[in-house]
Each structure stands twice: as C-alpha cells, then as structure tokens.
Amino acid sequence: MPRRKRLRKVVAPPGFKGYKPYGNSQKNKPFVELLYEEYEAIKLADYDLLNHLEASRLMGVSRPTFARIYESARRKLANALVETREIRSVFGNARLEGTWYICRECHARFTMPDLKRDQVCPLCRSLQIEIIKT
C-alpha cells in the first residue's frame, strides 16, 4: 500500500470552475484537471513570487513535494494551451482553511487544526473520515 498523501493546505480555492479555449475548430477534447493544490502552487510561486521553500511551508508540504506539485501544474497548463484543451479546477488533495470533516462511523463533524497530524475522528478514532465539501 502506498503512503497516503498529506493534504496540501490551500488558502483560497480558485475563483473559477474552468477555462475554455475559443477560436479553435476541434470540439469535445478531453479536459485538463487542474487540482486546487496545483492552482495554489502556481499562485504562490508565480503570482506571489515566493520561493519554493516559503511556498512549501505555506502549503504544509516539503519543498520537493511542492516542486512536484508545481511542475505537474505547469505541465498541465502547457498541455492545455498547446493542445487547446479546456481546464477545469478539481478539488484534489487540498485542505481548505476552515475545512470541516465528518466521521462515517459516529457522524461527528469536526475541524482539524494545524497542530493535529493524525487524520482520525476525535471522538471514536475511526479512520473513516471525509471532508464535507461546501
């Protein structure tokens, strides 16, 4: 079993659902899924002009992991531009500020402060927890 992915902290989700190319002839190409954390990586590195170490700390991941997310984001954007594909923003492995979780066993709803690293239900310690999408 592979190691589970740490959730990447995203300060604000992208303000769009997607981008569509226009002026192209071909229709119905598969779209590119830009994950929330990839959007955040692009924003931190190329819009806020942070270096990768600072950006990785903000997202709560290591610098190499940040670099991987950023690279994947750039490749997806390049792919979308060159192949005139639609871009859609997808939730991915993000953890939004103030995200609420729900436990599937005892149905408790709870938050997960930064200091807590164990991803278990605070009441019954079940691992069966999921994010409530708002």
Partner: protein, 105 residues
C-alpha cells in the same frame, strides 16, 4: 490533552448541551486520567458575546478539543485561530458519561 464537553448540569449524569456559548456547564476531561471536572458557565444568561467569552475561556483553560452541538460564527473564528479542535455531535439525549466513555475507550 484536555477536552471540554458542554453540559446541562454539573455531574456525569447530566445531559449534553447542544449550545456552546450558553451551555450551563463545561465539563473538562483530561484524556490521560479520564476524570471530569465541571466549571459553571457565567455567560449562560448573557445578553450578548457569550460565544466569544466561552471561546476565550477555552483558550484560558488550555483546552485542545471542544465537543458541542454547534458553534456560532464568532466562536468558530476564535477557536480556529487558537488551533482548538471543534467537534459537533447530535447527541441531545446523551449523558456526559456516555460521551466520555466514547472519548476514552
């Protein structure tokens, strides 16, 4: 680690209070010993700002987890800022004892 459960009364057989700022009592449970102690909420009948005062109290007590029925927007904001975990449960008919046993097991 300390956990607070909102309670209607000052003993373990009292029922769980769904309100946070206006809960009658706060039951402080230490995870290590499992022993509850009860603190009266002076803000239970306040006209305003009860949630904020209660959240401040949580910070003062050094609590890391709060179990209640719901949290107001201001209390939520404050608890989030101080990295206190909020847990919302629907157990209106549950007693404090039941919740503690769920927590400790």
């Amino acid at each position: 680690m300390k956990t607070v459960i909102t309670s209607k009364g000052n003993n373990q057989n009292a029922s769980f209070d769904l309100r946070f700022g206006r809960a009658g009592w706060f039951c402080v449970v230490d995870d290590a010993s499992g022993k509850p102690s009860f603190i009266e909420n002076e803000q239970a009948d306040a006209t305003g700002g009860a949630g904020v005062k209660a959240a401040e109290k949580m910070v003062e007590l050094g609590v890391q987890k709060v179990i209640s029925g719901d949290f107001g927007p201001k209390a939520k904001e404050l608890l989030e800022k101080f990295n206190i975990q909020m847990v919302i449960i629907q157990g209106e008919n549950q007693s404090i004892k039941e919740i503690i046993s769920q927590l400790i097991n």
